[in-house]
Amino acid sequence: MSTPTTRQFPPSGAGGDVPEFLAAVWAQLDDLPADEVAELTGGLEADLTDALADSGGTPAQLYGDPVEYARELRAAAGLPPRDAAGAPGRSRPSAGEQIEELVATARERTGIVLRGLDRQPWWPGLRDLLVVLRPAWWVIRAWVAVQVLYLVFGAGGGGAVRGGLGGLLLLLVAILISAQLGRRAPSPDRRERVLVTVGNVVAVLFLLPVMFSASGPYPEAYGSPQTVNEDYPWAAGLNNGNQAVTNVFPYDAEGRPLTGVQLYDQDGRPLEVAEENRSGFDESTQQSFDLVPGSPEGSAPRWNSFPLQQRLINPDTGQAGPIGPVPLPLTGVPSSAGSATGSVAPTVAPTGTPTTTPTGTPTGTPTTTPTVGPTTTPSRTAVPGATPGPVTTATPSGSR
């Protein structure tokens, strides 16, 4: 099937119907102003259709070459011949001409579609509604244009204007221009009409991306990932939802708290508390503390060995106290202050009667046979502590 832009119509009846022939004729008129073309070809479809109905042929059989047909039409209508720049079979048309041709083709196709819609019973109502909604589109495209401006000129220039009175004024001016463009009759200048059409297409294409980028929480900085990371500190280290995890309390199947459990993710990377979360201030006890990794003596600190222990800071002297366990959390209930013993197992462990956490410092009791650590680690990972040697205790606190 030949397309209008090829300007070559099939010489005989194969697939040559009226819209196709018309499209080829249209292509020969695209150097004319739109109103002139509309005037020239208004009713032409009916004329061709009736002529074909009478003769029973195809447009190609009846009229031959659409290019010749268009030439005759122009000559009879007293219009100048299609200028040399637009004549067929010549060197490549310029980009501007190609765009104009695209627009003309699109307009012609739209006309055919609209005429088809005219026969639908639901169309008139919808069309009237759409016509009423045109001003809304004028506002939307103005807004899109302003957003695109912000994007083009980046956060530096846009950020200062965006939020304030300047941004509002800019938007208002854009809306005024857009509404004026939409309200008045199509410009006689063909170039301007093409520009408006291109602008509308761009506005439609940018509508969704602009909506998403403009609804972000930090409008003056979108598009810069490093800024996003500053604003979302929980992006690094262990997190639960959007909240930083500062410690992990493992329990065994019996509900007994475990210690010295090393955690790894699916790729064998250690699950570690983020660096900025390794010290803090306990609201309930009014105590500053530093978290301490469970590490065997002489080895690198293991921030993935849970539960982490803590070292309380003396508020008066600022000196660090001895290392001790972090109190087990109770769901919803703050634990008793800083005590190493007497913590209660969480309610999620139904079989666990209140158990005591290990007393004394785990770092001081190396064992030679790790029981839990190695068997629960990913196979692909070389786990520190899997080799016999001093490791932190990895046994349930409740002895068997």
Binding site: E39, G42, A46, T49, E72, A75, A76
Partner: protein, 113 residues
């Protein structure tokens, strides 16, 4: 002799004459011209002429929606068109008379306007 060359000069007059009888859309005007004997008249020439006469203010135009096909664009004559028709009819009559005389060899020296 190629009648298309002759037609070019008188197509305005022919179209005005046909439309002055009764309003018609493009293909209808074409059909009436052919029925009247102008078999060689081209589709695009007639349609283009209708548009040009309309643009010159000699014809009126209105669109009649069709139930099953595309809209038809009807043309009718107006006062300006009737005046043009009258003038051109007179011109044609004199021209034709001159040609007749010339061809008959009787008034070969009569001035052609």
């Amino acid at each position: 002799m190629d009648t298309t060359q002759l037609l070019k000069g008188v197509l305005d007059l022919a179209v005005l004459a046909v439309v002055s009888e009764e309003d018609g859309y493009g293909y209808e005007v074409l059909r009436r011209l052919r029925a009247a004997g102008l078999a060689d008249v081209g589709d695009a020439s007639v349609y283009g002429t209708l548009r040009r006469l309309y643009a010159a203010g000699a014809l009126t135009s209105y669109v009649v929606p069709s139930d099953e096909g595309p809209h038809r664009k009807y043309y009718g004559i107006n006062a300006h068109g009737r005046a043009t028709l009258a003038t051109q009819t007179k011109t044609w009559a004199e021209f034709a008379g001159t040609m007749d005389g010339l061809l008959a060899g009787r008034s070969a020296t009569k001035e052609i306007r």
